[in-house]
């Protein structure tokens, strides 16, 4: 099959993921969009692995590692999101501004 097809699909999926990360307010939806981006990366890795056929099978092995690390990352991210929800009552990422760089005198909109 044509390699360009896989690359194009991967680029498109990455684009969708970037859009999701930028536009979503809910932290869980942002995490999902990040997963989409990682999926796009994996597709590229696998496609190029089949192109190069090196002894290390780098592409596919890296794809496995990415899946594993993404799982750990997402779980931890969600744990943090749950803590944020407990402390702030919301997981809208633009409402949680505790660490924002601004004048401490302004109104605390975090909670």
């Amino acid at each position: 099959m044509h390699l360009a097809l896989a690359i194009a699909l991967s680029a498109a999926l990455f684009t969708v993921g970037v859009y999701g990360v930028l536009v979503r307010r809910n932290a869980i939806l942002v995490l999902m969009s990040i997963e989409l981006m990682l999926g796009a990366v994996n597709l590229n890795l696998v496609a190029f692995d089949l192109l190069h056929h090196d002894r290390l099978r780098s592409g596919q092995v890296l794809a496995l590692f990415v899946i594993a690390i993404a799982a750990a990352e997402l779980g931890l991210g969600l744990a943090i999101v749950l803590l944020v929800y407990r402390n702030h009552g919301t997981i809208a990422i633009d409402a949680v501004r505790d660490h924002a760089d601004r004048d401490p005198a302004t109104v605390d909109r975090a909670s």
Binding site: A68, G75, L82
Partner: protein, 123 residues
């Protein structure tokens, strides 16, 4: 090449067939069944009592901890499979075995940690 693709083509066909089966039976169901909706029938079932505040129930975070435990371990468990298929081949022996044991040992440490922390005993 042939075997690989024809095998998965068969699986794909079976999935299509299964979807067809489900669609047919839902279709037959739609033709054969009566349809007499009424507000009482369509309200949420709560053992005959009037349903109260929404269809939402609070859940324990504990579920999340267990779920995450699973995710972490499932991620390693998948590495057992490639390992399993090559252990008997020439060139992989004790060293590969020990590598896996180190890997599993680190994870066993993880489960011991959660055990000690009392996470594994519910509430």
């Amino acid at each position: 090449m042939d075997h690989y693709f024809s095998g998965y083509a068969l699986v794909g066909l079976l999935i299509v067939l299964g979807i067809g089966f489900v669609a047919t039976s839902f279709g037959a169901n739609a033709l054969l069944r009566p349809s007499r909706p009424s507000p009482g029938k369509q309200s949420t079932y709560e053992c005959g009592v009037e349903p109260t505040d929404g269809g939402w129930a609070q859940s324990y975070i504990r579920y999340y901890v267990f779920a995450y435990l699973y995710v972490v371990f499932a991620v390693d468990a998948v590495f057992v499979f490639p390992w399993a298929t090559i252990l008997a081949t020439v060139g992989f022996g004790t060293a590969t075995l020990l590598e896996m044991f180190v890997f599993l040992g680190v994870l066993a440490t993880g489960i011991c940690y959660t055990w000690r922390k009392g996470v594994l005993s519910w509430v």
